[in-house]
């Protein structure tokens, strides 16, 4: 942690703004994300969380503002100026993107092994045996029996699919992972397992992550910092436990007080 203090930010959002015609998707959002940090973006549906995630990951061009990313060579680039080839390369090496619906992040028509191996093959791995061994290692890491490596994700449960998606993303040791409601739609017990797994992987690999969620429990468990969004704006930001235990903004207080305590 202390060593990282002197590091430059990995990702910087500067007054990121997106209009859909006259409607605001997201307005004036700015923050810095450092290596190893997990930032949760919380808010209700329609608050601009998903728009923000798309803007940060270069899938959507902002109407104003910019997103800077420090590449592996140490050079900081405006992600909007990356060529499509560079952007894709980033997406299969240094970035991961975990979709809410695993079906969107997986190739459902090919085996689990091929799903995990695809990124390796895309960056030039050409040894079947090594690709397979690496895929097996990753399946084990996400608690999937390596004996099921040749099954298609269609044969997997929802929780397994989500874990497979995570393995597929982490196999190239990315430095930044975007997660869009990673536990949405999963049973509570399955959620807990996934969260714990993600929490462990993030800590072990020193990943930075931006997690979009409407679930404050997910934010508390996974993130160091939190950004509360409402109507496209970041209305409150700070340490996760600080914002959740001592919320200032009326909307944040409403969010926090709306959680059901078992």
């Amino acid at each position: 942690m202390t060593n990282a203090m002197t590091d430059a930010p990995l990702l910087t959002a500067e007054a990121v703004t997106k209009f859909y015609g006259a409607r605001i998707g997201c307005r004036d959002v700015g923050f810095e994300l450092y290596p190893g940090e997990v930032l949760a973006v919380v808010g209700e549906s329609g608050s601009g969380k998903s728009t923000l995630l798309k803007l940060l990951s270069g899938q959507l061009a902002p109407s104003d503002g910019r997103v800077l990313y420090r590449m592996r060579d140490g050079v900081t680039r405006d992600i909007l100026t990356l060529s499509e080839a560079e952007r894709r390369f980033l997406f299969r090496t240094d970035w991961g993107f975990v979709h809410q619906h695993a079906e969107q992040g997986l190739r459902m028509g090919v085996s689990a092994g091929a799903n995990v191996g695809e990124r390796l093959m895309a960056v030039g791995w050409r040894h079947y045996g090594k690709i397979r061994t690496e895929a097996e290692t990753w399946l084990e890491r996400v608690e999937i029996d390596a004996g099921r490596i040749d099954e298609r994700p269609t044969a997997y449960s929802g929780g397994m699919r989500q874990r497979l998606q995570i393995a597929r993303n982490l196999v190239t040791a990315p430095r930044l992972v975007f997660m869009d409601e990673p536990t949405g739609g999963l049973d509570v017990s399955v959620q807990a397992r996934l969260l714990d797994l993600v929490r462990g992987l993030v800590a072990d690999l020193g990943l930075a992550a931006i997690v979009v969620t409407h679930d404050l429990a997910v934010a508390r468990l996974l993130s160091h910092r939190i950004l509360v969004m409402k109507d496209g704006r970041a209305i409150e930001t700070g340490l996760t436990d600080q914002v959740l235990d001592d919320p200032r903004e009326p909307y944040t207080q409403l969010l926090v007080s709306s959680i059901l305590q078992p």
Partner: protein, 234 residues
């Protein structure tokens, strides 16, 4: 007295309840307090006086409305009240330890790992962390058969002892204790008192809340009555 490791300067806190028509609940105001190495300052006063809030502000868990919380972090002075979240996170790893009233249980993480985690975050090696965790859990009479289990199913007292072990495992120069002995029996209270004494001897600056008079008398270097700083109702 040596230079304080922790200095509160005119610290103030109130809560604004927006869901109740903007009701402002004043907590404390004008708290100034220095804590030196080897001291154990006990916050006194009845419940609701804002003792816990003070500890939470020092840890960065609550935000301060006014004043400063100066912490010596190696050669640097950091004001927790205004520091960036990232800086506060770093302080929690290396400088400020905190034993909360309740253990926040994380699904599937075994007790031993919960305790070790605080040591590795502090910078201790894995082996050292494990050795310390085992020693502390044994000292606090947590049965060894529980160590590999997640504390979710533990009794309140067992959970609290895991929490104490987690708070005491690292060598943070500053330690905050929020009623660590509340749900413990006499034997375990004594163990905790021993741990506190050891920390004091090692030069740790401690701020604590103990509602148990016996423990308070034994560990306190001085007692500060928080009601002195009660904020007037707005």
């Amino acid at each position: 007295m040596t230079a304080p490791l922790l200095a509160l300067d005119s610290l103030a806190k109130s809560f604004t309840m927006h869901l109740q028509g903007g009701l402002v609940i004043p907590v404390v105001a004008g708290i100034s307090l220095d804590v030196a190495a080897g001291e154990c300052v006990v916050l006194g006063g009845p419940s609701g006086a804002g003792k816990s809030s003070v500890l939470k502000m020092i840890y960065g868990n609550y935000r301060a409305d006014g004043g400063a919380i100066r912490v010596i972090d190696r050669n640097e002075t950091v004001d927790v009240a205004t520091a960036a979240p990232r800086r506060v996170m770093a302080l929690r790893c290396t400088t400020i330890g905190y034993v909360s009233q309740f253990l926040r249980v994380i699904p599937r993480v075994p007790a031993l790992a919960v305790v070790e985690e605080a040591a590795t975050a502090f910078g201790l090696g894995r082996e050292e962390a494990q050795a310390r965790a085992r020693r502390l859990l044994a000292l606090l009479n947590v049965p060894e058969r529980l160590w590999s289990l997640p504390p979710a199913t533990f009794s309140g007292g067992e959970q609290q002892r895991v929490n104490i072990a987690r708070g005491f495992i690292a060598d943070h120069p500053i330690l905050l204790l929020d009623e660590p002995t509340a749900s413990l029996d006499a034997k375990n209270r004594a163990a905790v008192v021993e741990l506190i004494e050891a920390k004091k001897a090692a030069g740790t600056a401690i701020v604590g809340i103990f509602h148990d008079d016996d423990v308070r008398e034994r560990v306190a270097t001085r007692i500060v009555d928080v009601t002195r700083f009660a904020a007037s109702a707005a």
